[in-house]
Symmetry: C2
Subunit: 203 residues, 2 copies
């Protein structure tokens, strides 16, 4: 089993942090998106959607999509639970992970893909107007997250979960486009310092 | 318990089809996005992200995000399993559901929100150039899905799953902008006829 990975890309980092929190070590193999390696016929056979990360099994079959890979490892290694325990908590974690993905991560990713010069290699054509709209809307998303973190230690409640991983990766991804966190979001700053200090954040 | 719903919107339909497949009936309450009811203070207190559907519990707490709501019901009513059975099948269903969401559904939604005149009420400003890019990329997404359906009866393999629901809703959502399915995608047409004939498709 191996993970096709990219050290600087945000989605593979989600899986690496998840595995570090579980204490799981697996082989990794880098793939360079900027060189277009995701469009090679070999990689396309593994993942016709040409995204990373991809988990490749010894029989040659594969799973793509970061959260699908994380959920696979959650099933095999249930502890510590990173998708919640019980019907309601699992629904809350799913809800918050999706709110962060479709809200914050989406905005940062669209801004970066449409505004950063290096991203012209993977987002063509870039639409600057759409990028700017998303850069601005990132601020609303950070304020919504700050509000949740005013009432809860972690993104989905009292326990660290995959929603914290998605939020951490989204916020750190803002650095590429030099999107600044607005001053005054004290709860977000408190949470960011706490989750960044976990050993998994270096994964 | 009640579901805040909108008869014409695609995401609430995902939950209605899911519940119909499970044989679950719950009370629904309509919310009119076009009238901006999702921005009311009462609804924002239930869901600060202002999206539908929302599942409201009798204690006043709530779960938003379609897939979180579906997963909650899957935990309570495991059969028929719509998220897969066992670690690998669950990962495959999650992968395919996300491929359809982030590929096909995303493209159709972005095209519709940025090109349909009625959507100016919920997507402002509309960026026509970005809408057209997404309308065109919808075709690539349909071809990828046709290729999967050439080899499998359903989207995630041999069994009907939430990935079929997401794909059906995405394709039917194309009607609003009159995006035509290209001729020649025979496997997609075969699958679409089959899943549309299930009683749940009318939900």
């Amino acid at each position: 089993m191996k993970l096709i990975d990219q050290p600087k890309a945000p989605n593979p980092r989600r899986v690496r942090i998840f595995l570090a929190e579980k204490g799981i070590t697996i082989a990794t193999e880098p793939l360079d998106l900027m060189k277009g390696e995701h469009r090679s016929s070999g990689f396309t056979a593994l993942n016709p959607y040409q995204t990373i990360p991809v988990l490749v099994f010894d029989d040659g079959s594969a799973i793509s999509e970061s959260v699908a890979i994380c959920r696979y490892f959650e099933e095999l290694h249930p502890e510590p639970a990173l998708f919640g325990i019980g019907a309601r908590e699992r629904a809350d974690v799913e809800m918050w992970n999706r709110r962060i993905e479709l809200g914050l991560y989406f905005r940062v990713a669209q801004a970066t893909r449409h505004l950063h010069p290096a991203m012209a290699a993977i987002e063509s054509p870039q639409v600057a107007e759409w990028g700017e709209i998303n850069r601005n809307r990132t601020m609303e998303q950070l304020a919504l997250l700050d509000d949740q973190l005013a009432r809860h230690r972690f993104v989905a409640g009292g326990t660290y979960s995959i929603a914290d991983i998605t939020a951490l990766v989204s916020i750190d991804f803002m650095r590429l486009l030099k999107i600044e966190r607005p001053a005054g979001l004290a709860h977000l700053a408190r949470w960011h310092a706490e989750v960044s200090a976990r050993p998994s954040a270096k994964a």
